[in-house]
Amino acid sequence: MAIRTLYDKLWDAHVVREEEDGTALLYIDRHLVHEVTSPQAFEGLRLAGRGLWRSDSILAVPDHNVPTTKQHRGNGTAKIDDPVAKIQIETLNQNCEDFEIEEFLMDDIRQGIVHVIGPEQGATLPGMTVVCGDSHTSTHGAFGALAHGIGTSEVEHVMATQCLIQKKMKNMLVSVDGKVGAGITAKDIVLAIIGKIGTAGGTGYAIEFAGEAIADLSMEGRMTVCNMAIEAGARAGMIAVDQTTIDYIKDRPFAPTGEYWDKAVEAWADLVSDEGANFDQVIHLDASQIEPQVTWGTSPEMVLPITSVVPNPDDETDAVKRNSIQAALDYMGLQAGEPIDAIEVDKIFIGSCTNSRIEDIREAAVVVKGHTVADNVKLAMVVPGSGLVKQQAEKEGLDQIFIEAGFEWREPGCSMCLAMNADRLQSGERCASTSNRNFEGRQGQGGRTHLVSPAMAAAAAIKGHFTDIRAFS
């Protein structure tokens, strides 16, 4: 057998047919569906009189639009204030009923962010192809799966044919060598990677993350890293299967059992890149050099260590880049040379498909415990990634730590990561956010987003400004 990368193996195992020019039909094992990017796909099926190819491959959940406040939850969609959001969620419910798709409804304890619940349920398995009409589907690559975001036309295509029309991407290896220092998390690793290769550095590639620092991560940490592959331009990010992967999956509701489990585990052992496999591009990072990261601009590549100062556009020789830096500083209301740890924040958001899993919430709770939110912080909120994450956190008493410190403890959903519901920034407000995008207006028109790890967001809540988590006490 030829020497292959993990991506090569996943690709080869799913090609149904391939044309001479490399255009292939790729079989899709798991299709995750949410309310925002699916209604037009269902409508398309109806108009063409088409059905689903394989309804048992689909798992649906409302997440983007759901309210996260307790008074707006319960009794299905009845308490949703926003009539347009309500229609969209009800449309998903109706579509799932009509097409006989399994859906976790809003009142279901299993409801949550689509990229949290897939793995949590064992619906994401090693060796699978996973798609969802959401760019952060790259998250699922953490399990040695080929997972990427698709548009609504492709959602409809997968529903009708179980396949995607694709050309093979190139292989990139990002190796994070050695061990990270104390206080450095998966979020800092991936932001450092994006800072190095840029937001388009991975365009056209499937990225495999490897190296000691990646192997040391828990599954939650690995999901954080793969989640942001798309912020480096790569549709798919992935990590080889090891014992950590298998331990995480075992006994989850959708995971194989009995004889199938044994066979699966045996097959999953091959989901690693072969020794000497060829990558089109290889990037190395020294883990020991990674510091806590904070984005200062309006693109995830505009990121620096907490110990830095805001950059000066005059230091940039490329005109397009210089203009981008200046535009970002104007939008963010920052001055060149300002120390990053002097930047004050108005709001704190701990949540999103990047950082809302139990480990993220524990990481933030350790920092918050025994402190109170600074006076200048108008709102600090924790939005667990799923009902089950919330339940687990409450079992551990973490909700009380946050509430006593002055945080709001919310119901699960995408919330202020993209601000489709009521959770959003007002113009000019500055947010320490554990989400994945700091684009202009992402968290509300005129809102200013700084991406950080859960621990760094928690520390910013307590101090009222960014602070080096390594020196926090």
């Binding site: 990017t37 969209q88 698709i150 036309s153 179980q162 056209g204 981008s324 993209l418």
Partner: protein, 210 residues
């Protein structure tokens, strides 16, 4: 899908890199369950002075006169030219629907984000890739009434002086655009291949088919 063969149109310059899909169509409009009606809210945050909401009469809102799409000489533009990594970020196909609903037929840029690039072809929007140097040159040439011809068959962008720049396009995608073909119909021709693949999986990886 509407066919794309040759298009001649007015060019609007959007001199920015990394134009993300949140900027192309802000999140509040994604609550729609339809594919149409996104044109008036294309580039909403840049185009209007205050944030809009779905259901508003957008023709009554205060526009930002500094934004190119609002300038008199670019009214009726159907070709948008921008800098590198156009369409990065979210997978929302609404970004493409907003551009086409506004009347944009072609985007020209040195590079695109993968998902946006892919989504464009599914909706009859042609994303043309030209080198940074050529894009620079086109930006510098744009003045009142500047029109380009986009010839997909010949894979050429032709300027008002007759200068032509070639571009690459995937042969399958070109074929689909030229003929306005529906992907799903094409794929279902291979239904037997898909079923054969599934039979093989039931033997080899049955836990994926359970």
């Amino acid at each position: 899908m509407e066919k794309f063969t040759v298009h001649k149109g007015l060019v609007v310059p959007l001199d920015r890199a990394n134009v993300d899909t949140d900027a192309i169509i802000p999140k509040q409009y994604l609550k729609s369950v339809k594919k149409s009606g996104f044109g008036p809210t294309l580039f909403d945050d840049w185009r209007y002075k205050k944030a809009g909401e779905p259901g508003m009469d957008h023709s009554l809102r205060d526009i930002n006169p500094d934004f190119v799409l609002n300038q008199a000489q670019y009214q009726g533009a159907s070709i948008l030219i921008a800098r590198e990594n156009f369409g990065c970020g979210s997978s929302r196909e609404h970004a493409v629907w907003a551009l086409t609903d506004y009347g944009i037929k072609t985007v020209i840029a040195p590079s695109y984000a993968d998902i946006f690039f892919n989504n464009s072809f599914k909706n009859g929007l042609l994303p043309v890739i030209l080198s940074e140097a050529v894009v620079d040159k086109l930006f510098s040439e744009i003045d009142n009434g500047y029109e380009l011809i986009i010839d997909l068959e010949q894979q050429k962008v032709i300027t008002p002086t007759g200068e032509a720049f070639s571009f690459e396009v995937d042969s399958f995608r070109k074929h689909c655009l030229l003929n306005g073909l529906d992907d799903i119909g094409l794929t279902l021709q291979y239904a037997d291949d898909i079923r054969a693949y599934e039979e093989k999986c039931k033997q080899e990886t049955p836990w994926l088919m359970a």
